[in-house]
Symmetry: C2
Subunit: 367 residues, 2 copies
């Protein structure tokens, strides 16, 4: 939960688990299921990063869907991840239905290699699976002092403007940029909120804010059950065009165009959940070598200067401070590296059921 980045206290529904134990647990489940060790470590790294940064919906609680995907043979454990076409600055990859993180990691590495050589690298990917948090791949570029962009399409959950069907994905876009300090990291669903936020409200039995979602008839609703019962999420900008919902709708299509159409894969309407057979997810990665444009130090200094300026601009009295993208996540990460990652008790139970089914040691929690 995001609001924990500066306090150590958590509510009684959570247990803190050290990062390393969470990582090991994921690796032992996946390797037991036949995932090669190096691949399992990539998936674990991605899920643990989400939990460390406070993006609970994309953390270890996703493991069940991946396990289901493996058991249902929707995920190929030994994919032939193939470069279909390439040039010095681009590539098209077929993921052969491998785990999304494994395919994504390979593809982003390739985009970075291309950018080293050519200043920029773009890689479109088809036939992959849910790849976790988009920011993970964007940050890989920052480790090489580059700008990283990562996008993925996803199963239909959002209604296009003037439509009421779940027809487009929450299709996230991530951008990571090096600075003198912590990276700038924008990692956003192109809907008002991702589906994970509604799951949190559902769990707590709370009404959702008016403007996040519609029911099956297209009415804006605060009843989360009506959304899960045939309703849909709204694109960034909300209902209709008055507050520019058509822009979020357009950004979602941008992701489908780059990750689904250009890759020769498929687009949101046809993308399936990773727990099903063949989810056919598409990704798009881009790396820009900042040094092709400016000396690295100068680039970073300019980024840090812009951030300093914005953070010291005049604040609204109702808010505590002006945040920069990624900042809350890095603070959350600092706390969690020290104190452990709070995992919802029901998720711990679910993980332990998985351990039992698969036949590995349960999650070692400190209690």
């Amino acid at each position: 939960m995001r609001d924990m980045f500066e306090k150590g206290n958590i509510d009684e529904n959570y247990i803190r688990v050290p990062k390393d134990e969470l990582f090991s647990f994921i690796v032992r489940v996946l390797t037991k299921l036949g995932v090669p060790n190096a691949d399992a470590e990539i998936v674990a790294d991605n899920l643990v990063m989400a939990d460390l940064r406070g993006i609970e919906s994309h953390g270890v609680q996703r493991l069940k869907r991946y396990v289901d995907g493996i058991l249902n043979e929707g995920i190929n454990l030994h994919p032939d991840i193939r470069i279909v076409k390439e040039g010095p600055a681009y590539a098209l990859i077929d993921g052969d239905e491998g785990m999304g993180q494994v395919v994504g990691y390979r593809a982003m590495k390739l985009a970075i290699e291309k950018a080293k050589e050519s200043g920029v690298g773009i890689v479109a990917v088809r036939n992959s699976n849910h790849y976790g948090i988009a920011g993970y791949y964007a940050l890989m570029a920052v480790e090489e002092d580059m700008i990283g962009i990562s996008m993925t399409n996803s199963r239909p959950l959002v209604a296009p403007t003037s439509g009421i069907e779940r027809f487009i994905g929450t299709n996230p876009i991530a951008l990571a940029v090096p600075t003198k300090d912590k990276p700038f990291l924008l990692d956003m669903a192109t809907s008002v909120v991702p589906i994970g936020k509604l799951e949190v409200y559902r769990r707590k039995g709370k009404p959702i804010p008016e403007g996040w979602a519609i029911d099956a008839e297209g009415n804006i609703t605060t009843d989360v059950e009506r959304v899960f019962n045939g309703g849909a999420l709204l694109p960034l900008g909300g209902f209709g065009e008055l507050f520019a919902g058509h822009k979020g709708y357009g950004l979602s299509l941008m992701v489908d165009i780059l990750a689904g159409i250009l890759s020769g894969g498929t687009w949101s309407k046809h993308v399936k959940n990773t727990s099903e057979k063949r989810s056919d997810v598409g990704h798009f990665f881009m790396a820009i070598n900042t040094e092709a444009f400016l000396p690295l130090d100068e680039f970073k200094e300019r980024m840090s200067e812009m951030i300093r300026e914005i953070k010291s601009s005049k604040k609204h009295p109702d808010f505590e401070k002006i945040w920069i993208h990624g900042e809350k996540g890095f603070l959350t990460q600092e706390t969690r590296l020290k104190l452990g990652i709070p995992i919802y008790r029901k998720v711990v139970d679910e993980l332990n059921q998985i351990a039992e089914i698969v036949g590995v040691e349960k999650l070692r929690v400190g209690e």
Copy 2:
């Protein structure tokens, strides 16, 4: 005005002017001021496209600001548009304070050349001026059957989330993509609405919707005068984080990072109006050669199929139809090519004042 794309009638405050006359008028004003003929034609083409597509705020009514920029020597009429650095897939351009359209046209051409050779081309630009509609450059790529992306930073008009100062730009992003039929064209300010929309409400003396802008104290206001009097626009997603205003804020920074930071130029806080001395606008262009990835016909067919599906998905009863990005603009353009472009009478008066000051023939309107 957008709602005219399918009806021929306009209100009495407007006069229809044939596209060719509008184009000629702009060219004669600019050439008289010393702009080379070829450059004046690029600017005219850009402004007329905006008017044809119904983006009145970026059409001929902008001419005054450009003329002021030239008269104030903020615009360099004979710029040395220089490639500072380049490789087969990227370039950095210094616009030498030339007219934004002239610099932008040259830069996008270069991005397209790079993409022909390398599959992708990115060009960052510094020291330019207001470049008109972002979509113009994105569509240049479509003419070559490529995907085009165009972004520009702009003077500060938007408050960052939790802030109340005008600190970031409305920084638009455009994406154009070829299809079997008309191109897909997303062309969006990263604020809820561009400042031009508020100018229309101001002119009509109407209150603005609650959620577009704040006053000087940071309160959401419906009083457009309070916005112009020290207030600010809100980023896409609106006030605070509840409806994801931080995403619009992040997208605005993305544009500043690519167009302002990476280019070695400046960013929104420091960008000035083109009517002033040295506006220091930065742009970012990208072209993707679809044929590097897929056969062109297949790519276009896939785009058209996605669009057909979305348009035939279940519609909300309160809306007439489901639109695709760019579609309204192309319909408006069809009408206006036949009937002429409706120009606000006060704008016609202003244009004729310019004609008088500069010493060229007035706008020939059919009345």
